[in-house]
Each structure stands twice: as C-alpha cells, then as structure tokens.
C-alpha cells in the first residue's frame, strides 16, 4: 500500500541531500565512468572459453582456447561462449550498481532511484 511520506520524513530527506550538488555530480560521473569503462572477464568450460565486457555490457572479446575447440562439440562450445559472455556482463553490471549504491542521495543509495524494469531478472 502506497503511503505518503510524513513531513518529518520529507524534512529528513531534504537534510540528507548533498550540500554541494556539483561536487556530488562530478564524483558520481567519474565513479560511474570508471566502472563503465573497466573490463570484466568471465570464463566457462573450466576456463577454456573467456569473454570480456565493459561495465555497460558491450562485448569486447571472446577467447576460445585450443583445448575447447578440440574437446567440445560445436553446440557445447556455443553454450560455453554464451555462459562466459553472461558472466562477464553480470560482473560489469554489478560493478556499476555497486558504484551507484555507494553514492547516497537523500539518505538512499542511488540504486534505489533506478527503474527496476531494466534490471536483469537473475538479480532479483
């Protein structure tokens, strides 16, 4: 059930706003840029397949080791690539979320203000 915040709650939230919004914005921008542009690697098939993404989920590279080509059939290899890419994407997304969560606005982590519809269901 939705409840209107009390005046005391609203007053407390206003008091929790950053005193220097400009500095807060700059800190947030730098922090998110760092997390988003970093590289995150995950592997599958006992490390024989690796995938690297940035924090925005952009796939940078896939590396299939010779052992994977020798030992895995094409279908299993495809599954391993998918698994490695998902792992790298998850690692990047969580890093960005952690950075957002470390910034507090109005007494709440910034992740509380992000629409959840674009979250991955695996995170819920």
């Amino acid at each position: 059930m939705f409840e209107r915040p009390s005046q005391e709650q609203l007053r407390a939230a206003l008091n929790d706003l950053p005193e220097d919004l400009g500095a807060f914005q700059e800190s947030l921008r730098d922090s998110l840029y760092e997390a988003a542009s970093a590289e995150y690697t995950s592997s599958a098939a006992d490390g024989a397949v690796e995938a690297t993404c940035n924090g925005l989920g952009v796939l940078i590279s896939v590396r299939i080791h010779p052992t994977a080509r020798r030992e895995l059939d094409n279908l299993t290899l495809g599954d391993a690539v998918a698994q490695a890419v998902r792992g790298a994407e998850d690692a990047g997304r969580r890093a960005v979320q952690e950075r957002m969560g470390s910034h507090i606005f109005g007494g709440r982590p910034l992740t509380a203000f992000v629409p959840t519809v674009f979250n991955d269901p695996a995170d819920s």
Binding site: M1, F2, R4, N54, L56, G57, V58, L59, I60, S61, V62, R63, I64, R69, N74, L75, L77, G78, D79, V81, A82, V85, R86, E89, V117, F118, D120
Partner: protein, 120 residues
C-alpha cells in the same frame, strides 16, 4: 482505448496534483501496468550472426545473451582468432537487432522516437 503508457500519462495528468486519498494508488496501479508491459517487451528476443553466417546469437531485448550457436563449418573453417571474432560479431549483431526491435516497440508504445544505442 489507449495502451499502458497512455493510461499512465492519463493517471499522472488526472491525479498527479490531486489531494484525493486514492490518487497515489491510482498512479501506482497505472505505473505497475506499464511496468508489466515493459517487462513483457524485454523478454522478446532478437537474432544476429557474423558476416559469414558461421555463428549466430540470440539476445533478449533486455540485452541478455540467450544462446550462441557455432556451426560445424565454423569449427572446420575458422582458425585461431577468426572463430573468436565471429562470436563477437554475431553477438554484437544480435544486440544491434535487439536495440532496433526495442526502439520500434517503445516507439509504438510511447508514440515517440527513442535513440537507444547499447553497442559501442
């Protein structure tokens, strides 16, 4: 009858500045309907492949990898990093297709053109 986006906008317009006790609940209900519609859109999938057709990938419109298919010909014909790059190309193509499909769906829902780019 409009779609969920129209109904949400309508609820905001009617109840956004209202002091009625039920106003926040009506807005929340409209938001929930819209959220449900968006979640439905994001579970749809899109496909892509590398230029040679050796590798194909399927992603959800949320951008998540559903599957990667490496053809037997890819194993036979692509040596060294060529297979690696074919996988990257297929997944990137699938994500671009997903972005285009999502843009089209959201445009249909909102009546506005959205510029979304989730691939570098």
């Amino acid at each position: 009858m409009g779609n969920e986006f129209d109904e949400f906008n309508d609820a905001l317009g009617r109840y956004g500045r209202s002091n009625e006790d039920g106003a926040p609940k009506r807005i929340a209900e409209a938001a929930k309907q819209l959220s449900g519609r968006l979640n439905g859109l994001l579970t749809a999938t899109a496909d892509g492949s590398d230029a040679g057709g050796y590798v194909s990938a399927t992603v959800t419109l949320r951008g998540r990898i559903e599957s990667v298919y490496i053809s037997p010909e890819a194993i036979r014909d692509l040596r060294g990093q060529a297979l690696d790059q074919a996988c990257v190309d297929a997944i990137t193509a699938a994500k671009r297709a997903g972005t285009a499909a999502l843009t089209e769906q959201l445009e249909g829902l909102t009546g506005q053109r959205l510029d979304i780019d989730r691939t570098a």
